[in-house]
């Protein structure tokens, strides 16, 4: 049995939450976990698939994806992110990578360029930035898990997507 058995839906929910946060929050605080402030930005690619079972699946490539009316309309009608290309920034460090809902994983991580000239220092810097990304993603996912249990969570997402009761 995989770790995703029965809770695989959390992957898509997390991607929708990331989309929402990137569109509405300029900065997110992970201070309580010692990770400072970060920003999440959807880069130039999003794959949407239908939750209603109509088989719709489309990958959209564009700048400023969170502001595209067609993407918002698509999501409003029940199409949720299955894959995103995102950029996470923390201080002067930027990570750009793909995140997929199912199987839930991040891949093709472009690690921050930190300017070390020495080979050994470059290896250390890349490894440290990789472990920091791991911590940030865990903190973000935990924040999402806590927020999704809040009473207003569903209504807030509905408001964001423009879905009326």
């Amino acid at each position: 049995m995989t770790k995703e058995s029965g809770i695989g839906y959390l992957g898509s929910e997390f991607l929708l939450w990331l989309f929402w946060k990137s569109a509405t929050d300029e900065k997110m605080s992970l201070n309580n976990l010692g990770l400072g402030e970060i920003s999440v930005l959807i880069e130039d690619s999003i794959t949407l698939a239908s939750v209603t079972g109509d088989g719709y699946c489309e990958t959209i490539k564009s700048q400023d994806i969170t502001s595209l009316p067609s993407v918002r309309e698509s999501m409003k009608s029940g199409r949720v992110p299955q894959a995103l290309k995102i950029k996470i920034s923390s201080g002067e460090l930027d990570w750009i990578f793909q995140i997929k809902a199912q199987p839930f994983k991040i891949s093709s991580v472009k690690l921050p360029i930190t300017g070390e000239k020495n080979e050994a220092e470059m290896i250390s810097a890349r490894l440290i930035s990789m472990t920091k990304l791991e911590l940030i993603m865990k903190a973000l996912f935990n924040t999402f898990l806590l927020e999704r249990e809040m009473p207003d969570f569903v209504d807030d997402i509905k408001d964001f997507l423009g879905i009326s009761d």
Partner: protein, 199 residues
């Protein structure tokens, strides 16, 4: 060039049941299953073992082993593999020559098998095995192990050889592990039905 230095990375994370006592224990474990180069006359078609992460031909010195709090090394897999289409012309030629030299109309199954093996040996002599290098970084601060691959076959191969070499069992780490840490999935309900199901 090693992915430790350049390029985009995809990785799988593992949590070991324990950390090594010291760097010497790590060296001993790596030496236990150090990579051994394949010889074309070798009966084996593949060889898997540990190499240095930066100098991937080195399976003895591991001079790049320690980087800050990380032990870094790599899994090297060399494999000879020929497709049926690659083998076909050489096998057909060898069988044709064998029949003519022995004045035969048919070749027995056992003889065909031997001809095939001879052809494969000859092809191995004239080619290099396919090599795959997968870097590993073991963080002694968090204890987490980072394998620079998400391929199911590589993950399985790595898990087997790591557990054998280090005598330490490892488990894959996933963001979903947080669900258990925060109280389990039993009380959770998908929110999509609440968003789109109540229209």
């Amino acid at each position: 060039m090693t992915r430790l230095l350049k390029g985009n990375v995809s990785f799988t994370v593992f949590m070991p049941e324990k950390a090594p006592e010291n760097i010497e224990k790590v060296r001993e474990a790596l030496a236990e299953d150090a990579f051994q180069r394949l010889d074309p006359t070798d009966l084996r078609d593949e060889s898997v073992g540990w190499v240095d992460a930066v100098l991937c031909f080195d399976s003895e010195n591991f001079s790049s082993l320690l980087h800050d709090s990380f032990f870094v090394f790599a899994l090297r897999e060399d494999k000879y593999s020929f497709t049926a289409a690659q083998l076909r012309p050489y096998i057909e030629e060898a069988e044709f020559v064998f029949k003519r030299e022995n004045n035969l109309e048919y070749i027995a199954a056992q003889q065909k098998k031997e001809i095939r093996e001879q052809v494969i040996r000859r092809m191995k002599t004239n080619s290099y095995p396919k090599t795959t290098i997968t870097e590993v970084a073991w963080d002694m601060d968090s204890k987490l192990i980072y394998l620079f691959s998400q391929s199911g076959a590589t993950v399985a191969k790595f898990t087997d050889i790591f557990e054998k070499s280090f005598e330490i069992s490892i488990n894959q780490v996933n963001l979903f592990d947080s669900v258990k840490e925060l109280g389990g999935a039993d009380k959770m309900e998908p929110v999509f039905a609440k968003i789109w199901g109540e229209k």
